[in-house]
Amino acid sequence: MKKEKNHIISFIILLILSILFLAPILIVFINSFKGKFYISEQPFSFPDSTTFVKFENYVAGLEKTGLLTAAFWSFFITVFSVIAIIICTSMTGWFITRVKNQFNSALYYLFAFSMIVPFQMVMYTMTKVANVLKLDNPIGIILIYLGFGSGLSVFMFSGFIKSIPLELEEAAMIDGCNPLQTFFRIVLPVLKPTAVTVAILNTMWIWNDYLLPMLVIGTEYKTIPIAIQYLKSGYGGIDMGAMMSMLVLAIVPIIVFYLFCQKYIIEGVIAGAVKG
């Protein structure tokens, strides 16, 4: 009996907490349908006949920010950077673990070291280098993401590869596979769980990243976070209506994606936290 009662109390506490956790998102959603002058003053009331503006904010917001174009660039940069990171860093991780020499082990420590360097340390100089090398476009930035993201990714792949027995690869090579075939046919399938983790961590980082794309390509190409921040810097006072609607549009795809892959996302994040 006592146990049952405890469970009910726990359940109620959790229910209240989840309402508190969801409330901020719901409040933004509700406000995205209110006239822009009613938002700052009464954010906690539902729209009524005078404040309800249908999709007006969405139309205004999309016009001001170009969010659809920004969404395209966010998607483009995230997808191709993550693909590049997965393929290149898994190969690198395997190579520097299997071919043992001083150069490779020095490289391993360099990759691990880069993980602790905060972005601000290289912010200015990286932007300059990207400029000089003409990497300041949506394709060039993929190389930057590969370079700056390689630390964690190589580190995670190497860690996992160390635990795979060599026999399988040796057998494949004796059977006449060259290293490339061995890697793609034998090693890569085994690396799949780590690849999922690496993909999730990098997707979360690149999709939400503001400062790096802002500095490297921000003047010509906007990603979603840049487009939203632009609402503030571009026009003196913030158009709160446009802001609310754009926040909703920025959040919705993330939540949909999360609900479909939450098992992988949560597991990936735990694995990343423990190993990183």
Binding site: S18, Y124, T125, G147, P179, I270
Partner: protein, 280 residues
């Protein structure tokens, strides 16, 4: 086999290596060198020794940002881990709907910092409106606003790590303790907490480095207002670089100091986990 594989160096290693050199190695080395120079366009750099560092440490805004960041980090680390652990305990009690609750609590962690900042700006300003002020009225408001935001974002993240840790504890051990007459509180203190110590270490350092390096949320929520009093280190460095011309050298020196602090914390963490592993 190694010799044979070695010949494939250009395919396996080169793409990552080139990107790594361009995006990290060169900017990093250049960054250290430039921190000892005065420059506006890199090419015109003039060696001035420690001048930038002296200027950085006598810069009021920088010192203020450093204090603000340390305070914020301490408060966030404690509150986030306290609540995350509590949430994790609640969710490991076989209550109905555990999965749905976990899904909800974790969700804010996926939303980007800029978006989070504007969500909370709306809500906190909405509450403060009733008192006739705004978020940027006093630095304290911005401080607690950031703490609340950070808690909302990171509690779920730390919670899932704690849940994984708690679920690793063997059920028999807890049952045995209960049969021996231990109260729930004793089980928590003498069994659960010591056994999830590895998770606690991970979470402490994760919240520490995330809070210390915070930028996007800071920029969106207050952008340092009022008068740069709520600017954290990362934002202060950004402002030094891009807020005015001529500050690049000092900005780079600040960035190096920032890096050194983060690196020291990381090494402490490393030695911590190493020692733990040796004990086991």
């Amino acid at each position: 086999m190694q010799k044979h594989t070695k010949k494939y160096f250009p395919i396996f290693l080169l793409p990552t290596l080139v990107a790594f050199i361009v995006a990290f190695i060169i900017p990093f080395i250049l960054g250290i060198i430039l921190s000892f120079t005065k420059f506006t366009t890199v090419i015109d750099a003039k060696w001035i020794g420690l001048g930038n560092y002296i200027e950085a440490f006598s810069n009021k805004e920088f010192l203020n940002a450093l204090i603000f960041t340390v305070k914020f980090t301490v408060v966030s680390v404690i509150t986030i881990n306290f609540f995350a652990f509590l949430f994790a305990l609640l969710l490991t009690r076989k209550v109905k709907g555990t999965n749905i609750f976990r899904t909800i609590f974790f969700m804010p962690n996926l939303i980007g910092g800029i978006v989070l900042g504007y969500i909370w700006q709306l809500i906190i300003n909405g509450v403060l409106y009733k008192f006739g002020v705004t978020l940027t009225f006093k630095p304290e408001y911005g401080f607690w606003g950031l703490v609340i935001l950070m808690n909302w974002q990171m509690i779920g993240y730390m919670m899932v790590i704690y849940i994984a840790g708690i679920q690793n504890i063997s059920k028999e051990l807890i049952e045995a303790a209960k049969i021996d007459g231990a109260t729930s509180f004793q089980v928590l203190r003498k069994l659960t907490i010591p056994l999830v110590m590895p998770s606690i270490t991970i979470c402490l350092f994760l919240t520490l480095s995330n809070s210390f390096k915070l930028f996007d949320q800071n920029l969106a929520l207050t952008a340092g207002a009022p008068s740069k009093k709520t600017a954290m280190l990362a934002l202060d460095i950004y402002n030094t670089f891009y807020g005015s011309t001529g500050g690049e050298g000092v900005g780079q020196a600040k960035a190096v100091i920032f890096f050194l602090i983060v690196a020291i914390v990381a090494f402490i963490q490393l030695s911590f986990t190493r020692r733990k592993e040796e004990e086991n």
